[in-house]
Amino acid sequence: MLCDICGKNSATVHLTEIIDDSMNELHLCEECAHQKSLQMEQHFGLSDLLGGMAEFEKPTTKEKEAAVAIKCANCGLTYADFKKIGRLGCSECYDAFRKYLGPLLKKIHGSILHFGKSPFKVAKVSDKRGDLQALRNQLQKAIETEAFEEAASIRDQIKELEKNNLKIITTHKENI
């Protein structure tokens, strides 16, 4: 059987297309099938595919049932709603569905840690950023003068400061 599109190569991919109510069978060669799949991808936005992506990693049926029943206390959206519409209901949904959204965000973005600007008051953040910078300078000096005990203590302070307020790190890593 020859490919329905190019009519040259033999058809190795068999596709059933349903547009509105009519069903159409297509027999395609590999190359035309690839082109066709690219076209089809363009018809779907990434967000349309989210429902499908929001699957759980090998869950048991019980876990699955429990997950879809989770409801955001603030806006009433359930995880099942999210899977269906591909949109969250409000900012609180991110907390309500945190356990499942983490892996989803990882799948979409390849990361689950924000490195960018934050909406918090610039003055407040820059003060703390100043502290952090001052500590880093002290650390550098301590290392240069081989005051290793002091260096270790400063390093711990830096770690603590970074851990306590992730926002500071994110602001600091901004390149703009």
């Binding site: 900012s91 924000h114 703009i176």
Partner: protein, 349 residues
């Protein structure tokens, strides 16, 4: 400012100036922001939608930066008005659907616009002519800071700005660059370039954004990933990719000029000829022919025409623009006649 005033005004991004403006039409940055705890537009009720609209317009009113802007409520606009704003890239097609509690804020220069209650409570964008994402970022960053002082944006330290769709979570930023790549299309290298773009996690769209096909050799390239990289890094990544595409398009143009000059001049001048003499023309054909004339203009094959007047024609020949120019509703057939008339008058040499 009245909506109809815009027709006599040239948008900043159409000026045909700025870095690499032979290949890059415009650069755009958009940020998605939401108010804490209030349901996202698709999930909230009418009262919540109105509340969001009021809170954001009130906040915008306090910002010096937004002094010379006008707010248009979508419910007050007719279909031609809405289409007109879409054609000018001041709002999305999605924003024009279901108009309750929606508005768009536009500045006089048409550099920035803020869509209220689109997919997110706030979608702000800044456009610049040419290859200039960092300048667009500098402007929008200040605007965002000003708005953040007036409104409580939904934000988590680890996940960044929270958006209705998780594909925008993090920076909530999308940087896009509109490219004109006729030589890569003519030399059939474009598929290789588009495949490379997709592989690098960037997306390509047509002239009017999401879901539109690339027409007239125009391609909009934007980042897909918004979490895990700072805004600066994301822009730098787009810039790196765009620089390579510019390089390839330039090389393809050079090659065509040196090896196939006659073919190129023929195509450009035939396109120019049709535009100057047609009495009926569709917008699709217009875009395709103007694309060739623009290429001819960039390469010095067509003289006595400047880039901004060609850019202008891409927009003024669109359906809603023609109807605004004529101040009346026109059928599709009437538009094709008026379009040809407008083009002939603008290209008179």
């Amino acid at each position: 400012m009245k909506l109809d005033d815009l027709i006599n005004h040239s948008s900043e991004w159409l000026k045909g100036t700025g870095p690499n403006s032979d290949i890059v039409i415009s650069s755009r940055i958009r940020l998605a922001r939401n108010l804490e705890k209030i349901p996202f537009p698709h999930w909230g009720n009418d009262k919540q939608g109105e509340g969001v609209l009021n809170a954001i317009t009130e906040a915008a009113g306090k910002i010096d930066y937004l002094k010379s802007t006008t707010t248009f409520k979508l419910a007050d606009l007719d279909n031609v008005d809405k289409q007109f704003l879409i054609e000018r890239h001041l709002m999305s097609y999605e924003h024009a659907q279901k108009t309750d509690s929606k508005a768009v804020v536009i500045d006089d220069e048409e550099i920035l616009s803020i869509m209220i209650n689109e997919e997110d409570h706030i979608r702000m964008q800044v456009m610049q002519s040419g290859f200039n994402l960092f300048e667009a970022w500098n402007i929008i960053n200040k605007l965002d800071d000003s708005l953040a002082k007036e409104l409580s944006f939904a934000f988590l330290a680890d996940w960044g700005y929270l958006t209705a769709c998780p594909t925008n979570t993090g920076t909530g930023m999308r940087g896009s660059v509109m490219l004109h790549l006729p030589a890569l299309v003519m030399t059939t290298q474009i598929n290789r370039v588009l495949a490379a773009i997709a592989k690098l996690s960037f997306t390509t769209r047509g002239l009017y954004g999401e879901g539109t096909q690339a027409t007239g050799n125009f391609f909009q390239v934007s980042n897909q990933v918004s979490l895990g990289h700072s805004e600066g890094d994301i822009i730098e990544n787009i810039n790196g990719l765009i620089r390579q595409i510019i390089e390839q398009e330039s090389q393809a143009r050079e090659t065509m000029l040196s090896r196939n000059r006659a073919v190129l001049e023929d195509r450009v001048n035939r396109s120019f000829g049709i535009l100057k003499s047609a009495h009926i023309i569709t917008s699709q054909e217009t875009i395709e022919l103007l694309s060739m004339v623009r290429l001819g203009c960039d390469l010095g094959v067509v003289k006595d025409l400047n880039r901004s007047s060609i850019n202008e024609l891409f927009i003024t020949t669109q359906p809603a623009h023609l109807q605004k120019l004529e101040s009346k509703k026109l059928s599709s057939q009437e538009r094709d006649v008026k379009r040809a008339e407008l083009i002939r008058s603008k290209l008179k040499v």
